[in-house]
């Protein structure tokens, strides 16, 4: 890909930055107390979820209001497979969870992604609500009573699992979007679907692939979340608040950028925990979320990331800093 020296240097710089970042995140648990560690673990999970939503919302240009369904599919798959009767080990449940989410996404996405954006939003929303209703009725999901999982109280394990999942999601998505044909097709159809079709791109196929990828990542985090909290019920893993947060995090950080969703997720999750520790509950968080969406749409349509990295401006800033050393 990189053919001129500038690009090679840029890529090396990026790889070095990623390595430093991962190393820093890797040693974090040694320096903070367990409570803060839980908050950071949560921030990693939401960053990964925001990254997943961004594939469909930001890169394909289709707003999904039904991602809580995939989070729930992942959580319930892991919970059901780990129940006493079946008793699979946690890591073995990840594959079924991801595969089921991808199959469901392909079934749902195939027909609905032919529809225009507004219909897709309604369809995914109706689907998520339907699945939540189903989870409250069925026996296998434990109805409204929910399911308990075997408790594994090792915060370090969950921190590193979330870190691995989040890092894999971000780097995988970054590679797929920026360096593969799939990414180019996806961005082409977002910018102008008829034109992309005229160029010979099978837009429906690409859209469904993107939706399935997004669903798979969401389900993966759902699985880890279920094992982490050890108890799930329909509201906690399929409730509308999960989708709400994913949407707001991506919009706040920057729709259709790689690192924007991570930034939005970290900012919002810390806000959430701060409100929770100050007021004792998170009721006031919901109107704050709503207000943030409205304000971002009105005044900051490109998200927080546009303030920090004005693309060229940000790179110039970094190189100017580097030259001083």
């Amino acid at each position: 890909m990189a053919s001129n020296p500038g690009q090679v240097r840029g890529n090396l710089f990026r790889l070095a930055a990623i390595a430093v970042g991962l190393l820093a995140l890797g040693v974090v648990p040694a320096f903070i107390d367990p409570y803060s560690l839980r908050i950071v673990t949560g921030a990693l999970m939401w960053a990964g979820l925001a990254c997943a939503w961004n594939i469909v919302g930001g890169y394909a240009g289709y707003i999904s209001f039904g991602h809580s369904a995939f989070f729930g599919i992942g959580a319930y798959t892991t919970a059901i497979l780990m129940q006493a009767g079946i008793g699979m080990p946690f890591l073995a449940t990840l594959l079924p969870s991801v595969v089921i989410a991808m199959i469901v996404a392909a079934i749902i996405g195939g027909p609905t992604m032919r529809l225009r954006g507004a219909y897709f939003a309604i369809a995914t929303w109706a689907f998520a609500e339907m699945l939540m209703q189903l989870a409250t009725i069925l026996d296998i999901t434990g109805g409204t009573g929910g399911l308990s999982l075997p408790a594994y109280l090792n915060e370090f394990f969950f921190y590193y699992t979330m870190l691995a999942a989040a890092a894999a999601s971000f780097l995988g998505v970054w590679y797929l979007i920026e360096y593969t044909r799939f990414g180019f097709r996806l961005k082409a159809l977002r910018d102008h679907e008829p034109a992309a079709e005229a160029m010979g791109i099978r837009t429906n196929l690409v859209k469904v692939q993107a939706f399935a990828l997004s669903a798979a990542i969401t389900a993966l985090f759902g699985s880890v979340f279920a094992y982490w909290t050890t108890y799930i019920d329909p509201m906690s893993v399929m409730g509308p608040e999960i989708t709400d947060q994913m949407v707001v995090m991506v919009l706040l950080g920057g729709l259709g950028t790689i690192w924007g969703p991570a930034l939005g997720a970290v900012v919002l999750w810390i806000t959430n925990r701060y409100i929770w520790s100050t007021f004792g509950d998170t009721v006031v968080y919901l109107p704050v979320l709503g207000l943030i969406i409205a304000m971002v749409v009105l005044f900051l349509p490109n998200g927080l990331i546009s303030l920090i990295v004005g693309r060229r401006r940000g790179r110039e800033l970094i190189s100017r800093i580097l030259r001083k050393f």
Binding site: G61, G117, A123, W125, L286, P287, G290, I292, V297
Partner: protein
């Protein structure tokens, strides 16, 4: 047979209110090209307004509905230009940004109601509460009948406004073609803002009626948004006439499922059918146009 007649009657009475709930939503989509996620939020807030007017001033909901209409029409008239601004902005995807904006509004309403008034349901008392009419084998609560008639009256008012006034002509012109209507001297921005105000007023009034029949709590908004979506999708997005049939269809469907299958399945069936309709006939079963 008696049970069947009763079921049909209940369905029709609820259907009338669903028509009232969706008619403004359709108008907004036709004129502003915005799917308003906040539709259930406006209805929920209307219900709360009626509750507080009874609790604090002792005004019967069937009188306060007019106050609620005016109040929410003014609020909507103020919010409308913001939505128009987002929808006609130079963002990469103005349609999605407008959708996200109304989603944010809805979250603000739902969260605000939860924060201010907590989870518990509140009943809105009316003079008609607890009275019944018996017609042959069918028992009709007077409350539901009056709410039904009120809903039909409001819907009739909308149709008269649309088809018998100059303002209505301007609205229909904008819905048909925004640019051409603008060239003919219609102030598109102002018409859009007034349509949004009209929509919020009507929807809040429908919310008053629903709150009087059932009760109101912060989470009912989600269900009303879904019902409005269902009726709108069945009628074809933007079709005002189709709402008359689609609203009754949803009312009947919900009533039949609740009676013969079980109440806890009614939402599941509604979601499922909505999903199927979207897949099979996304343009609506009943055609489109204002």
């Amino acid at each position: 047979m008696d049970l069947f007649l009763q079921t049909i009657m209940n369905g029709v009475l609820i259907g009338g209110i669903l028509i009232c709930l969706t008619i403004g939503f359709q108008l907004t989509f036709g004129v502003l090209h915005v799917i308003d996620f906040a539709v259930g939020g406006w209805a929920m807030l209307g219900g709360y307004a009626a509750y507080w007017l009874v609790a604090l001033a002792g005004i019967d909901p069937f009188i306060s509905i007019f106050l609620v209409f005016v109040l929410f029409a003014l609020i909507g008239r103020a919010v409308g230009p913001l939505i128009y601004h987002v929808r006609t902005s130079r963002y990469a995807r103005p349609d999605l940004m407008a959708l996200a904006f109304t989603f944010g509004l809805f979250l603000l309403m739902r969260g605000g109601a939860l924060w201010l008034w907590s989870y518990n349901s509140r009943n809105v008392e009316s003079v008609f509460s607890g009275e019944f009419l018996t017609v042959g084998p069918v028992t009709i609560p007077v409350l539901r009948l009056s709410a039904f008639l009120m809903a039909l009256l409001i819907s009739l008012g909308v149709f008269l406004l649309l088809y018998r006034t100059r303002f209505g002509m301007a609205v229909r012109a904008v819905a048909q073609n925004r640019d051409h209507a603008g060239l003919m001297g219609v102030d598109v921005k102002r018409v859009s803002a007034y349509v949004y105000g009209l929509y919020t007023g009507i929807t809040a009034s429908a919310g008053v009626l629903i709150a009087t029949i059932y009760s109101v709590n912060p989470s009912v908004g989600v269900r009303y948004t879904l019902f409005a979506f269902f009726v709108a999708v069945l009628a074809g997005l933007g079709s005002v006439g189709g709402v008359l049939i689609a609203g009754l269809a949803l009312g009947l469907m919900e009533s039949v499922v609740s009676t013969y299958v079980g109440t806890r399945y009614s939402l599941l069936v509604v979601f499922g059918v909505l999903f199927l309709v979207l897949l099979i006939a996304p343009k609506g079963v009943l055609g489109r146009g204002i």
